[in-house]
């Protein structure tokens, strides 16, 4: 009888072992936080910056609320806010100190490719990204104002901005910024400058005291937002 139980015990030991191994193999490996001190600090910094931005926005809204509460002329304040928002969204013409970037064809002596018709979309995107990194406030390519929903695409070998063909060379890009000189120097030594040369193009930028950017002409297509009706 004792012997029999021993055999049973051996079998159950084997079963237990197999079950444990199976459990361990199938359980998800727990993901660990592997960021080092520097990365953690950086993450903390971004979060703090975000907090600051949110606080600023909150202050702005509170101020608007205060104004609305204080003044009799609610419509006036509303109109002001509306104007400010339209300005931010790029629906108004703006002018100010800025930069004029002119993109033109630039051939090597022994160039042997075909005709160059348009700036590739990826180069334009790169340029806009670099301008934004350097602190550009408003950008327009040719007559097309760049807004938050602007699409830069390529169709039939030509580049479209906001759904319109890009004009032929030279292409003018207007930028409004607080410090045009800074952007000018940054752009002339930027990575996009080299990439433009690879595509047989080059751009030159000139700081201007006053540039005027056209307004965004089309309607904004708002797809993922809808007005909230406040319950009264």
């Amino acid at each position: 009888m004792k012997n029999r139980m021993l055999v049973f015990a051996c079998v159950t030991t084997v079963i237990g072992f197999m079950v444990a191994v199976q459990f361990q193999s199938l359980s998800e490996p727990s993901s660990r936080d592997t960021r080092n001190m520097g990365e953690l600090r950086q993450a903390l910094m971004t979060e703090k910056e975000r907090q600051q931005e949110l606080n600023q926005e909150l202050d702005r809204h509170l101020e608007i609320l205060y104004q609305l509460e204080q003044t009799e002329d609610v419509e006036g304040v509303m109109a002001e806010v509306m104007e400010e928002l339209e300005h931010q969204a790029g629906l108004t013409e703006v002018s100010g100190p800025g930069l004029l970037i002119e993109v033109n064809i630039f051939f090597d002596e022994n160039y042997s490719g075909g005709a160059i018709q348009t700036v590739p979309a990826y180069l334009l995107r790169l340029l806009i990204n670099e301008l934004n990194i350097q602190g550009a406030q408003h950008i327009a390519i040719g007559n097309e104002r760049i807004v938050s929903t602007t699409a830069i695409r390529e169709a039939n070998g030509r580049t479209l901005v906001n759904g319109n063909w890009l004009s032929y060379f030279p292409i003018e890009i207007k930028v409004i910024a607080d410090d045009p000189e800074l952007i000018h120097h940054a752009m002339m030594s930027s990575q996009s400058n080299e990439l433009f040369i690879y595509e047989n193009m080059r751009f030159s930028s000139t700081p201007m005291d006053e540039v005027t950017l056209p307004a965004y002409e089309k309607n904004y297509r708002v797809r993922f937002m809808e007005p909230v009706q406040e319950e009264s």
């Binding site: 012997n3 029999r4 139980m5 021993l6 055999v7 049973f8 015990a9 051996c10 079998v11 159950t12 030991t13 084997v14 079963i15 237990g16 072992f17 197999m18 079950v19 444990a20 191994v21 199976q22 459990f23 361990q24 193999s25 199938l26």
Partner: protein
């Protein structure tokens, strides 16, 4: 009676503490082996209760069942047919069958004990 339970706990502890892991493609083999082992265990318990237990049958059954089940799964993988499902089905049915018989035996034992 407590010896098998101790064995089970010992096995579990051993398995968890050795931190052994097998890759995912072999997980199905192991699961089928566990099923085969469980089937043998339950069958052995049933035989014990029916007083037809034979150690040699039990031990050989344990190993051949595991081996057969794993090789069936292996064959299934190489034939592109989920043959291991056949083993799962067979073992599942037998498990339930044996457990039902064990339950009945225990129930009759209990009722006769109460009748006394």
């Amino acid at each position: 009676m407590w010896l098998p339970v101790v064995g089970l706990l010992l096995g579990l502890l051993l398995g968890f503490f050795t931190d052994l892991r097998i890759s995912e493609e072999y997980a199905s083999y192991l699961s089928i082996a566990v099923l085969a082992a469980l089937d043998t265990l339950v069958g052995g318990t049933r035989a014990q209760l029916e007083k037809t237990f034979d150690e040699n049958v039990f031990i050989t059954g344990f190993f051949t069942n595991i081996f057969l089940a794993a090789s069936l799964a292996f064959l299934g993988v190489h034939l592109g047919v989920d043959l291991y499902l056949a083993a799962v089905f067979a073992f599942g049915v037998r498990l339930f069958h044996n457990i039902a018989i064990i339950r009945r035996i225990l129930l009759t034992k209990w009722t006769t004990k109460r009748a006394k």
